[in-house]
Symmetry: C2
Subunit: 378 residues, 2 copies
């Protein structure tokens, strides 16, 4: 009996070991798989890794295909570790399940089910019916964390939302005259470009464009890091964005102008006007986020002023708040980070959890997770 427990424990720790490797592999696709999830696969035969694969880009081989191709005949009787339930349908590529069965793989260990309710669990059933041993749930939280956007979009229909704000230690985002360039230092700004490169889209407002004339492209430089330029989405309810703005002049990625009515300007090809229903002369954020979910935006990176930030926070739409804090005090006659409606008591304050704290150059970067529960948008 004791020997059996021991054997089982060894098996479990081996499974964790290889799954950890599969998840590490999956991460290699983090700049490029969008809108697909990051997936990694390891094939192990008699305690030896005989195949590895990861998904690189939509339309290209899935992780399982790359790993099985590498393993070749050694797939027979092997165990496959996959960080996400394999597909069982024809997408841009043929279903992975059939290849797994054909390869002779004996056992499949899967970290987590596909979050898409339409397919979730079906591949497991299919593999099992074909006589393959299937195990599920090894390092599932880790596997979910590398695809936060994909999971949230599949489960709720809206993207994973990160909002970035640069503040002083006394919580100010700009001087009274609007001067905010630059509260934080170069290294913080470089770090922002990394986040942009990791995101499906950047959301901002025409207010910010009119103030800073930003291009909102990702300008992230590291060797061998290719990334998809994020789609640039601007809330522009009063049609104030013009042809001369830098974001329009720069055609590295699409620009979506979120508006209440079209204008007659002849916009360049990379610019689209998206017309959403009029909500008392404002863009309805719920409708916008649903629209972005439908457009397969997994991760939305928001850079904006205190208005949009405060609206998003009050509406409990933020998944993660990233604060770059500069070691400066601006004083009380400047612009505050958060404009609440009218909180009177301390227990009405919005609550967060400090997820990480890090020094970046002379600044600090803090990641906060709101404590509120996500409410499904109807």
């Amino acid at each position: 009996m004791n020997i059996l427990i021991k054997k089982n424990n060894i098996k479990k720790s081996k499974d964790k070991f290889y799954m950890q490797k599969a998840i590490q592999l999956a991460k290699k696709g983090k700049y490029t798989t969008d809108p697909n999830p990051n997936v990694g696969c390891i094939i192990v035969l008699k305690d030896k890794i005989v195949g590895i694969g990861w998904h690189k880009k939509s339309g290209e081989n899935h992780a399982e295909v790359n790993a099985i191709n590498m393993a070749g005949k050694l797939s027979k009787n092997a165990t496959a570790y996959i960080s996400l339930e394999p597909c069982n349908y024809f997408g841009k590529t043929p279903p992975c399940c059939d290849l797994i069965i054909k390869s002779g793989i004996k056992r499949v260990v899967i970290a987590i089910l596909d979050p898409n309710p339409k397919v979730s669990g079906k591949s497991i059933e299919y593999l099992k019916k074909s006589g393959i041993q299937v195990e599920i749930g090894i390092l599932s939280q880790k596997a979910k964390n590398i695809n936060k956007g994909f999971f949230k979009r599949m489960l709720t229909g809206i993207p994973w939302i990160q909002i970035k704000m640069a503040i002083s230690i006394d919580g100010k985002i700009a001087m009274k005259n609007g001067e905010s360039k630059w509260i934080t230092e170069k290294k913080s700004i470089q770090n922002v470009h990394k986040h942009r490169a990791l995101s499906s889209a950047i959301l901002s407002t025409s207010n910010t464009i009119l103030k800073d004339n930003s291009k909102f492209t990702a300008r992230y430089q590291t060797k061998n890091k290719k990334y998809i330029q994020p789609i640039r989405i601007i809330i522009d309810s009063k049609n104030r964005i013009q042809l001369h703005h830098k974001i329009i002049q720069e055609n590295k990625s699409e620009v979506w102008l979120i508006r209440l009515f079209k204008d007659k300007i002849f916009w360049p090809k990379h610019v689209k006007q998206i017309i959403l229903p009029n909500n008392i002369n404002q863009i309805n954020l719920h409708i916008l986020l649903k629209f972005l979910g439908n457009k397969k935006i997994n991760t939305l990176w928001i850079e904006c002023g205190s208005n949009l930030f405060s609206n998003m926070l009050r509406m409990h739409l933020i998944d993660e708040l990233i604060l770059y804090i500069a070691p400066k005090m601006l004083g009380n006659k400047t612009i505050s980070l958060y404009h609440d409606i009218n909180n009177i008591y301390l227990n009405q304050a919005e609550q967060f959890i400090f997820k990480s704290i890090k020094k970046i150059g002379s600044d600090i970067k803090i990641i906060l997770q709101p404590k509120y529960q996500y409410k499904k948008i109807s």
Copy 2:
């Protein structure tokens, strides 16, 4: 030649090693030596530690005395490592230099000179004249750092000033109605009590007393940690502190009411009225700090509202700012940390350096050092 360099390097690294130990020993006195500095001493004979000593309390043995007593006859021809220049005058105890000479110690290594301009360097001369080899400057910065208050007071005449503020992530200290209990959590508050226990005195204002009715004693609980209760100093320019306030009811340490004129109340023995010159109906902070320096207050721990904090910052009087930040957003209609006079441009903002960042329970604690240069108060 190479052998000589090598020998010298070995000697240097040995000196650092023992001095590090002497500084560690010195720290044992950090809760109790006030107003004296923390000092540690190690006596080493033929690479063996034969005596250790540290200064515990004003009026009791100096570190050197304890170490030499322990070493006994083994002091002869030994090296003494002392974290601060030994005394050469009769204070509450006889001069250490004479004991060192008498003990037969051959070599004395000193981390840093006594900052007191009247005695600094004199002991070194005295020891040298008696034929003792003297070296100075090993780990001097570290030795200075364990006595920041003593050094600053000796060099400038005013205490080392730390100011503590509890804020939300959006830099607010209280709701509009003044509610601030408790922005931060229990563990942060316990940490504050540790700082109180480490300080010579706590400074606050009658405003804070009238709002919170604090006792301002140190209530820091760890085993075997005895500490001197800090003197409690309250700026009370309008004589608003009354007999019924908790700070008066509690007699664990002296209370100094800093006032512009005396009242006729019969105060308990532990309460003193300190009358400072009238400065347009306000207490002049420079005069107050000079007064505290004269009273041998090495380290001043300030807990107050945004008025005193803002005045202290604008006057560039703060040596260290300790922020306890709670993961909450209070909104823009609440009370801000820093009230500046009228900064217009970003480059007028007060600048700091992040010295340390630490999680405390669900809060974070940040230590900031202002970038301004200390200006000597005339």
